[in-house]
Amino acid sequence: MPPTPMADKPLLKIEDVEIAFSSPDEADIVAVRQVDLSLYPGKTLCLVGESGCGKSVTARAVLRLNDQNSLIRCGRIRFSPSDGETVDIAALKPDSLAMRKIRGNQISMIFQEPMSSLSPVHTVGDQIDEMIMLHEGLKPKDARERTVALLDQVGVPGPRERANSYPFQLSGGLRQRAMIAMALACKPNLLIADEPTTALDVTTQAQILDLLKELQEEYGMAMLFITHDLGVVAEIADEVAVMYLGDVVEQGNVFDVFRAPSHPYTQALMRSIPTIARKKERQRLSPIKGTVPSAKDRPEGCAFTSRCPYAFEPCAGMMPGRTSVSGNHVARCHLLTENARKAEVPA
């Protein structure tokens, strides 16, 4: 796969964003620090990491959906749709008119548990109809035709009848399909998918991933995909950003990152998933020692210091800069700059 042409204008550019959560009786907790991400039209960027790494907070910030007590302390979230002006989402008020126009119109979101975003007292069809009427000003009858076509497209069998079902009458997989249909109703430029397949069985997960890929091709939308599963990343991503305790430790083209993971955390993460291999080739898993510390105890420098087997003197005190590994593949690790310096000395 050819590397993403850099000349293209990114649809979404997150620049140096820091998000903090305040609480009444404790100091503010910085959930996400110095995040820089670019997402190009028609591409998929996966945010991957373990629980508490800030992947959801980052994605929700794009729609300004984080809780009241969160604050984007600095940085910009520039959203540049092909048919409109560039807006800095970080500068908008979460409940402003401009933000509401972006939400559900240009950026849609799907969640892990569809029941939480579908209304239990309205039929699936009515909910999608409403979205279409709101965004396209169609009459109810025409809207229903579009709804049926959409449900058909996302692979709901018997779409006309299913449009009259309530969410609880559908299986998990069908519910997720219905939510995808709703997200697509306004033809978004960007789809944010927050662990959309985590609650599903493997066979259903495979179907949903295939469906998302097909729809992406057809609609040409970009996808910001959040998951904890490296298998899913390998399956669906163009670009990947690995997060750990609020930092993006490594990012780049998915093939590059998987072929040559350069941050000790990415490497350790990959070594801790069991590979599908014959017994004689199977290696004992090498887990990461210890557990993820709380964000309060995070060092000033690299967040992974406390668990990193290679940690050395500058790690805890100084945040490593982004070091290019190859092309757009970058990692934040002092080892990379150290090695570079060592390599220069003999030459």
Binding site: V202, T203, Q267, T275, I276, R278, R282, T291
Partner: protein, 345 residues
């Protein structure tokens, strides 16, 4: 080798009425399940939600009675015991040998008890130790799972998910069991923690001479830890084979789609998928006639719709498919390098 535990023709039907006079609904969670586990073996039971794997585990430990069939335990140096025929009192001594590890580390520990009391409780119930000896045994088993002795006085909420799961393991092992049933024991954990717990389970198995029944939906984990795999679908055993044989050449079409759906953490292997995965698991109450899998099977013929295939031996594998001998199904072991080596950064 004689099996340590065998499950013969076990069925479990749940029935409930809506209201006092509503119609009686029945759900067959297990249909005629037969399997056995040899001493020292790790037997994995895999399947998607609603396949009956959890019901099977709970039936073996007698958390609920079975509707039909029998579960026989053969303790070393003792006559076989038919667990399903025992009453509560007679079952109690065997509960020391057969232990369970639960999925959710948050709900499997009593929030009102200190870790020491949680782990000591089985010893107290069976009156196996008291006083100083009790304390030593609890501290010893906690140290084995990596919980320091000075943390014994804490309450469960002070621990992380991975640590709580270790406490759950310690509780299972404190009675020196023979057979441990791990119901999705690592599913709720983050990958790096999951690897810690998997390694721990492997080491403890060698040290204590344990036999595991490992219930899981994650085929990656199963391939790593299991010696043999039982695949379940809608309450039926559809395939039972040594791990390597199953992943190399599955004999049942359902096993094939499970393997194919498994996301592999290697983008280079992404293109191989030939979209054979289709349909969804039918609702348990509306089980298809004939082969339970025929509604989603790409090889289904008329015979499959009417005649239920029995489990039979094909090579090393036991499989319930009419065409098991002739089907050429695709396994999960690719040609890509199976082990990962990275240059040190």
């Amino acid at each position: 080798m004689t099996a340590l535990l065998s499950v013969e023709n076990v069925s479990k039907t749940f029935s409930f009425r809506s209201g006092w006079f509503g119609p009686l609904t029945t759900l067959d969670a297990l249909c005629d399940v037969t399997l056995s586990v040899a001493p020292g073996e790790t037997l994995a039971v895999v399947g998607e939600s609603g396949c009956g794997k959890t019901t099977l585990g709970r039936s073996i430990v007698r958390a609920q009675p079975v509707t039909a069939g029998k579960v026989t335990y053969r303790p070393p140096g003792h006559d076989p015991v038919e667990l399903t025929a025992l009453d509560k009192r007679a079952m109690k001594p065997w509960r020391r040998d057969i232990r369970m590890i639960f999925q959710d580390p948050m709900s499997s520990l009593n929030p009102h008890m200190r870790v020491f009391d949680i782990v000591a409780e089985p010893l107290r119930i069976h009156r196996l130790a008291r006083g100083q000896e009790l304390e030593e045994r609890v501290a010893g088993v906690l140290e084995k799972v990596g919980i320091p002795r000075d943390a014994m006085g804490r309450y469960p909420h002070a621990f992380s998910g991975g640590q709580r799961q270790r406490i759950g393991i310690a509780r299972a092992l404190v009675l020196d069991p023979k057979l441990v049933i791990a119901d999705e024991a690592v599913s709720a954990l983050d990958v790096s923690i999951q690897a810690q717990v998997l390694n721990l389970l492997e080491d403890l198995k060698d040290e204590f001479g344990l036999t595991y029944i490992f219930i899981s939906h994650d085929l990656g984990v199963v391939n790593y830890i299991a010696d043999r795999v039982v695949v379940m679908y809608l309450g039926h055993v559809v395939e039972n084979a040594p791990t390597e044989a199953l992943f190399e050449r599955p004999r049942h079409p359902y096993t094939e789609i499970l393997l194919e759906a498994l996301p592999i953490a290697d983008p280079a292997r992404r293109m191989r998928r030939a979209k054979t995965v289709r349909g969804e698991i039918p609702y348990l109450g509306s089980r298809p006639t004939g082969c339970p899998f025929h509604t989603r099977c790409r090889f289904a013929e008329d015979r499959c719709r009417t005649e239920k295939p029995a489990l039979r031996k094909v090579g090393e594998t036991e499989v319930a498919c009419h065409f098991a001998e002739t089907l050429e199904l695709k396994g999960a072991y690719g040609d890509a390098p199976a082990t990962r080596t990275f240059a040190k950064a």
